[in-house]
C-alpha cells in the first residue's frame, strides 16, 4: 500500500487533456487503496 495514501479513501478526478479519472483510480487500486469516486472533467 502507498505510504502517502495509507488508510485513505481515494477520490480520483481526472482532466481531459491529462490523465483520465479511471487511470488514476486504477493506479490507486493497484496501490491497495479504495476508490470511492472517479470522474474526468473538462476545464475548457
Amino acid at each position: 500500500m502507498s505510504p502517502v495514501f495509507d488508510g485513505k479513501l481515494v477520490i480520483a478526478l481526472g482532466e481531459r487533456d491529462g490523465v483520465a479519472g479511471p487511470a488514476i483510480a486504477a493506479c490507486a487500486k493497484a496501490a491497495g487503496n479504495e476508490v470511492v469516486f472517479s470522474a474526468t472533467e473538462c476545464f475548457v
Binding site: 481531459r16 487533456d17 479519472g21 472517479s38 470522474a39 474526468t40 472533467e41 476545464f43 475548457v44
Partner: protein
Amino acid sequence: MTRPVVSHAAQVLAHVPGLARHGSKPSRELPRNAEVLQQFLGSLRSFDEAVAYLPHQAYIGAIHPRELPARPWVGASPPASRFTPGGEIMPEDEFLGLMACLDQFGLVTLDHEVADLAAAALARHPLAKQVELDRLGAAAGDAEAVAGEHGSLALHIDRDRLAAGFRRAHDADDALAAAVLLENLACKATGTLALLHLVADHGIDPDSIDYVISCSEEAVGDRYQRGGGNMAKAMAEAAGLGQASGADVKNFCAAPVPAVVVAGALVASGVFRNVVVVGGGSLPKLGMKFQGHLKHGLPVLEDVVGGSAALVTTDDGVSPVVRLDGVGRHRVRAGSSNPQIMEALGVEPLEQLGLSMLDVDDYGTELHNPEITEPQGSGNVPERNYKTLAALAARRGDIAREAIPQFVAERGMPGFAPTQGHLASALCYLPHAVRRLTSGDANRVHMIAKGSLFLGRMTQASDGMSVLLERNQASPVL
C-alpha cells in the same frame, strides 16, 4: 461515387455582453454577490473592443491565426471591420432583434425603444432582406412586466439596461424553461446568421441545399424527449433553405468532424448533392472563466456566441476534397490518454494513406484562445495538442526530437476561437482551410476534434474524430 468537397464556409460572432450573465457560471455566481456582479458588469467589453480583438478577427477570417501577434491581444486596438467576406461580428442590439425575428412562440418581448433601435440597425444590415423584420413590431411590448413574470428572464444591453423579457414556454416542463429556450434560441440565431452569410456572401442558391446537419451543442426538446433535436431544420427554415431537410449530429465538442464526415458520405454516395454543416453558439459557456479574468484584471472575455456553416458538395475540380479514406476515429479500446487519442486521430489515418505527419501543412485541432483559458488555470489547449502531435511525429521518425518546436510553430497555430466548445474544435479553422487549400498555400489540412463524453455520466470514455482535407489536384494554383 463522386468526391465530396468543401466549397465555401462562413463564420460569425454575436457580441452579447448583456447576455453573459446568463452563462452557466455567471448565472450561478453573480446572484450570490452584489459586489462581484458590479465588478462583472464593469468588466464587460464594448462592441468596438470586441471587433478590434484580433482573435475575433481571425475567427471571422480577416487574418490567419498564424498572423496573430505575440500576446497580449487584449488592449490592442488595430483598425478592424465587423464584416468580412463570409462573416461578421454582430452587436447585441441587432442580435436581440434577430432572436426576436426568429422566435415563433412569443418568447421574446423587446422593450419598445430597443425594438426600434434593432429594427433600424437590422434594416441597414446587408442580409436585411433575408430576415422578416416586421416581426420586430409584434415582439415589442412591456419588457419589464414580462421580465417580472414567474419563470421569465430579464435580458440586458449596454451592460445593465433592461432590453427584453424572455418567457418560459411551459409552467412545469424544465426542458421548456426560459433559460433553456434562451440557450436554444441564441444557438438558432447564430447558426442561422452563419447560414445566411454562407448562402448570400458566396452566391449560393438557397433552394440548391438538400440537407443541413447541425453539430450545435444545445438540446432542443421537451420533458418527454429532452434532446429531441433537429436544430438543423429550424435553422434551415429560418435561413430560407426551402428545399432542405436536416438532422443533428451530437458528440459533445467533437460533433463538427463527424458532421463533416457524414455530410461528405451523403454527397459521395449520391444521397444528396449539397449538404450544409452548421453549428450555432453555446450561450451556457458565456462568462465560464470570468473569475479568472477578473482576478487578472482582464475584461470578461467570454462575451461572444459563435456560429459556423460550410457547404459540402460534389467535386467542382477546385475546392478542397474531403478524404473519406482519411478519417480517424477513437475506438472504444484505444485508450483515453491524450497521446493515445492523438495517435488514433492524428497519426493512424495518415498511416493508412501512406502519408507522413509532414505531409500535412496545418493541423486544425481544438483552437481555444489561450488568453481566455490560461487566467483560469486551464492552460494552453492548442499548444498542448500540438506538442503531443509533434512528439508523435518525432516518435515515428518523421522529425528529429529537436525539431518539435519547429513542427509546432509551422504546422500548428495559436488558439483563436472563443471557448464555444464545438466551434473551437477544428470547425473554426474550416474557412481558413478552404481558403488555403483552394489558393494552393496548403496541400493538406488535418481536422481533429475531441469530445468529453464523460461529462454526461453515461461513460468514462471520451471520443474524437479526424478528417483529412486535401487540395483538389485539378485546381490551378491561383
